[in-house]
Symmetry: C2
Subunit: 218 residues, 2 copies
Amino acid sequence: MIHFKIAIDCVIVGYDSQLNELKVLLTERVNEPQKGKWALPGGFVKKTESFEKTAASILLRETGMTNVYLRQLKAYSLTDASQDNRIASVAYYSLVKFENLTDASRQQYSRWFPWNGIPTLPFDHGKKVAFAFEKIKELVRLEPVVYHLLPTKFPLNQLQRFYEALYNIKIDNRNFRKKILKLPYIERLDEVEKNVSHRPGYLYHFNEKKYKENSSPY
Amino acid sequence: MIHFKIAIDCVIVGYDSQLNELKVLLTERVNEPQKGKWALPGGFVKKTESFEKTAASILLRETGMTNVYLRQLKAYSLTDASQDNRIASVAYYSLVKFENLTDASRQQYSRWFPWNGIPTLPFDHGKKVAFAFEKIKELVRLEPVVYHLLPTKFPLNQLQRFYEALYNIKIDNRNFRKKILKLPYIERLDEVEKNVSHRPGYLYHFNEKKYKENSSPY
DNA sequence: GCAAAAGTGTTACCCTTACACCCATGA
DNA sequence: TCATGGGTGTAAGGGTAACACTTTTGC
């Protein structure tokens, strides 16, 4: 009976609102194979850990964060391994708030790469990143996961620019506002943008409780 | 370093249009543990097989079919196993046309259970079945996967009854027809139902080519 | 005062929903 | 002739999309 080592790979995604672009966290591999190459952060599943736990600990190691959006992407069976010892991997993807990253969480061997400037990755990591982005695009249409990427408080046009960047479209700002302001779970705060060289806009936030109350179970 | 045996479990789903209900194929376990219990058909990944290949061969073994709709559901890390030898499993789900089942494909140890009459399953199989149905419900809303479950040629009200059963709703047949007939990829055939004790309806089929032409890439 | 984004209404179109009756067939 | 589903149109409401100008701030 064949046995597998199981690696967990994490596609950790953040949104840089300054540059209006999505980013992925990559780390430089410190071990062979592919030593020195940029790759997805990952690790092997330990004896007592579930896949999800392993993914969460990788996320903690790389970003210093816990309790962030983390979902399974897909399990992959690598077939290029040798003999009796195959490697499988389960990929996870995570959405993190860029603003919450501390300097301490910027690891020596890690770097955020813009979505459109990712180097060629070893193994099947390129495929995993691409699949994660497909998934995220789908997901954003269906559920308010955007709010895991945006700062807790955001002006409406930051939200708009996010959608414009993600789908590479132009959105009419009047229609966009009408649509967003109708949502019961987006609430305006008594606070405005600061240090912007234009008329400051009100800040909004996502009220998760109201979202759950208002979303029908089917 | 811990190693895993990896099992593939398949949630094989069919639609019985006679009874208007979704069914799941279960098999009686012939080996310990849980020998004699109904469970999801499955097997361990062999040395040279990918996960998907393993799933496809299980599907072939159980239904005699190839080239059917088969997708990965999720990878599960069982944590109740002993010592150095853990078991992981990757679940797949499949949609098959009930009409295409031959008698030969009705295995001695297998039986189709109605969605609402599934016995308590061992391991995490109950969880997997439930998750597969959630996924399928979602999927049907987003993509025309219904047509993997329905017969190749179907009258409109069979389609309507399928939706009504899946979501447990009542649909107005005028509105339903308007909506379906507007779809460019549902084509009416020059053929009508036979042996029905009411006015026979025209048969329709799903034109996959037209679907792909007409669906935008984003 | 200039640049840059905030903020604001109306109209047309489309899609969805609600709703009732005659038609063709097998038994 | 009866039971059963096949087949048809219209009106109202809600959401989406196209469209331009004034306001407020930093510099």
